[in-house]
Each structure stands twice: as structure tokens, then as C-alpha cells.
């Protein structure tokens, strides 16, 4: 430890302890939804060596699962989390959500020359209809910052990360339906239950439903 401190490569490890969001003041969407959390999302750890400075490890642990489960539970009248390789078509649902993290970045006071820690998280939310066809691929960028003089180094970074996650939650509540059209999947699902099976839309048909200006570059 002493040697590490001498060579300037001592590390800081920040873990998020079950952050939660308050119960949102919104009307729930009348839709049944399931979500699956990929393992990289479920146990996200970000490591970064700040050039010439110390190494930071930010362990989000189960924070994403907790936050998104709480969030989606508040947004939809019927919500469940599925594990493993469950297929949307086997679940009797209107929509299936698979969130992931595209990028995680942060800055410390040494870098920004400001008395603050900042965190940026870029989430990606993929939405599938009840038959398992992808209908939206929505990237969202969330941001949080916290002053180090108020909370101290590790605590300030932890708080900035929590604020970024909370920012993502607010953005999802406000924009999700507008950007992805998830509530329309209920009508689609109802129609497909009462009418003969429709023709499965081709790629162009899917693109019409994807949020404007968003390209599915996930491969």
C-alpha cells in the first residue's frame, strides 16, 4: 500500500449501495412489460486510470437492476423481470425491454480543474414487441455531478453516479413513450390476439417504429 502510494498508483474503489428513486408522480401506462437484464448490466464495474494519477474503480453492483426494476414497476401497470433466455413470445406480454450500458465516463477535480466529480452514463434501451421483434433501440445519455468540498472524494463520486442514474430515470419517464412508442405495442398486441396473424414486418417496417434519428448500430 505504501509502495503504491509512493508511485502515485494508489486506487480508490467506489461502490453504490442500493440507490433508489422516489415513487414518481405519473400515470402508469396500461401495458404488460417484461425486462431482462444482461449480466454486464447487472454487475457493471468501471475501472479507469486517470493519467498520472490514481486508479478509480466504480462498482455499480446491483444498482442498475434495482433502479430499473423500481422505475419500470412505477411506469407500467404490469411489469416483471425475467431471467435467463426467456423468449418474449412465451410470456404473454405486450413489450419486452432489454437495457444495457454503452459507455460510462467520469471526471475528477484534477481533470476538470473544478471542485467537482461528474459522471456520464450512456444507456441503451432495446424494446421488442410480444412476438420478439425489435421495435426500438433508444440511446439515452445521463449526467450527474457533485461537489467534492461538500461530500469528500469517494462520496462525491458515488453521489454523482447516483445523480446520473436518477437523471436517466427522469429522462426515461419523460421521453420513453414519445421516443419508442412503447404504449402502441398494447394495441398491436390486442390486434394480433383478436385477428389472424399479421405478416411479420420487414426491416423497413421495423425502422419506422424506431425513434427518429436513432440507428441500431449494435450489430
Amino acid at each position: 500500500m505504501f509502495v503504491a502510494a509512493l508511485c502515485g498508483c494508489a486506487g480508490s474503489r467506489v461502490s453504490l449501495q442500493n440507490p433508489t428513486i422516489p415513487e414518481p408522480l405519473i400515470e402508469k401506462l396500461q401495458i404488460s412489460v417484461a425486462a431482462r437484464y444482461p449480466s454486464a448490466f447487472d454487475n457493471f464495474v468501471h475501472e479507469e486510470q486517470v493519467i498520472g494519477k490514481e486508479k478509480w474503480t466504480i462498482d455499480l453492483g446491483g444498482a442498475n437492476r434495482l433502479l430499473f426494476t423500481q422505475l419500470f414497476g412505477s411506469m407500467f401497470t404490469d411489469f416483471m423481470v425475467v431471467e435467463g433466455n426467456a423468449k418474449p413470445s412465451d410470456l404473454q406480454i405486450d413489450a419486452f425491454i432489454e437495457p444495457s450500458i454503452d459507455a460510462f465516463e467520469f471526471s475528477v477535480p484534477n481533470q476538470s480543474q473544478k471542485d467537482e466529480f461528474a459522471v456520464w452514463i450512456r444507456y441503451r434501451i432495446k424494446i421488442f414487441d410480444g412476438a420478439g421483434v425489435q421495435v426500438a433501440n433508444w440511446p439515452i445519455a445521463a449526467y450527474g455531478k457533485s461537489q467534492s468540498s461538500t461530500f469528500g472524494g469517494d462520496e462525491a463520486l458515488r453521489r454523482a453516479a447516483v445523480l446520473a442514474m436518477r437523471d436517466a430515470a427522469a429522462l426515461i419517464i419523460m421521453q420513453m413513450d414519445k421516443s419508442t412508442g412503447i404504449s402502441k405495442l398494447r394495441d398491436t398486441s390486442a390486434r394480433s390476439n383478436s385477428a389472424p396473424p399479421p405478416v411479420i414486418p420487414n426491416d423497413e417496417g421495423v425502422q419506422n417504429f424506431v425513434a427518429e434519428g436513432i440507428r441500431d448500430d449494435s450489430g
Partner: protein
Amino acid sequence: MIPVNRSELPYKIALRVVFAVLAGTILSACVTSRVEHIKEGTTGIAEGEAIVIMAKSYHLGNETEEKFIECVGDSIGRGRDGLRVIPNQEFVDALFPWFEPRTAPAETKGLPALMSRPGVAESIKRQGVRYVVWLDGDTDKTAGGGSMSCAIGPGGGGCFGFAWWQNESEYEATVWDLDGLEDAGTVSADFSGTSFLPAIVVPVPLIARTRAKACKGLADQLKLFIVADEEV
């Protein structure tokens, strides 16, 4: 040669430090100030009504220090004539997600739409919030100079030199009346001062506490602004 009692050295150093701290506490540099307000309408606050002190969103580039917001809230709530101040986190949580940095209304013309959202007006009424005060601004070091060197050895330690720096605290509080859903006006506080740190063996700080004084000045003026039911 003067005999030196080495066991007294730590006490001498401690005494110098205590002296420097006391001097710094008692002495403070001059601060110039300007506090003013512009009222857009009549104000006033009834018993049971409360205010909330918020920072303007950092998404808009605002950098108001969290400690300053706490300080203003504490100052307004203190004393016999103190107003009821709801902690801003409590207010923001109760209205999630409508007062988050990304989603909070930037102008009063967004208030009617916000109030019509489910549960928002009821939550504000339940908390008794009459005014939301949005703080903007920060404290910056605008200039500085001088030099100082310190040394410590077996025979003691000391500093020699002179340093100075200038701080400017500029804050503006915009007051929204949630009763009439209108802008009640603004209170601004500009405080500036130069701190000095001369040192001949012991540094004697003369600190211009611009942020602390801006907090007190802004809080006192806000209290008057809200309570006094004067015409524009």
C-alpha cells in the same frame, strides 16, 4: 550561547499556531457589498406556508455551491422571524421526476402545465410550499499574488512572505410564487473582498469571507422580500 530547552519547542510551535488561528478568526479583511431586489408583484407569506431553496440546474451551467444553498436555507429559517424552509431534497423527492436538474421548469410559464400533472399540485399543497427560490451564481477567485515560504527544522519553524487573493461572490435568487404561478421578483447579492496573508514567522490570515457574507446578506434580503407585503 543561549541555552535552549528542547522540551519547550513543541509548546512554542503550538502557541504560534494557536495565535495564528486566533488572529485569523478575530481579524478579517474588508468586504464590499451590494444587495438589491426587484419586485414583480406583491408578496407575503401566511402561517404554515413554506419556502424551498433550490439551485438552478447544473444542466444549464449553474455552479452554485451546495454549502451556499444550505447556508441560505439555514439563515432564512433561523431566528424568531425565521420562515419555514422545506429541505430541497425532500421537496424534489416528493415531486419526482418534475424538479430534477433535467426536468425542472426553467420559467414560470411552464408552471401551469406542471401543476396539471397528476399529484403535483396536491403534493405542493400538502407540503405547504408557497415560494420556490432559485439560486444562481457562485464564488470565484478573481485575482491573487505574492509569495510565501515556510520551513521547519529542529529549532522550530516559521513562514516569511506575503500573499493576497481576491474573491467575488455573485448570487441571484429568483422567487416564484406558486400561489399565483408567477415570478415574484429577484434578489441579487454581489460581495467582493481581498484576503491578505502576511507572515513574519507566524502567518496572520486576514480573510475576506465573501461567500459567508453573501449568504447572510442574501438570506436577510430574501426574508424581507418575501414577508414585506409592499407594492411594486
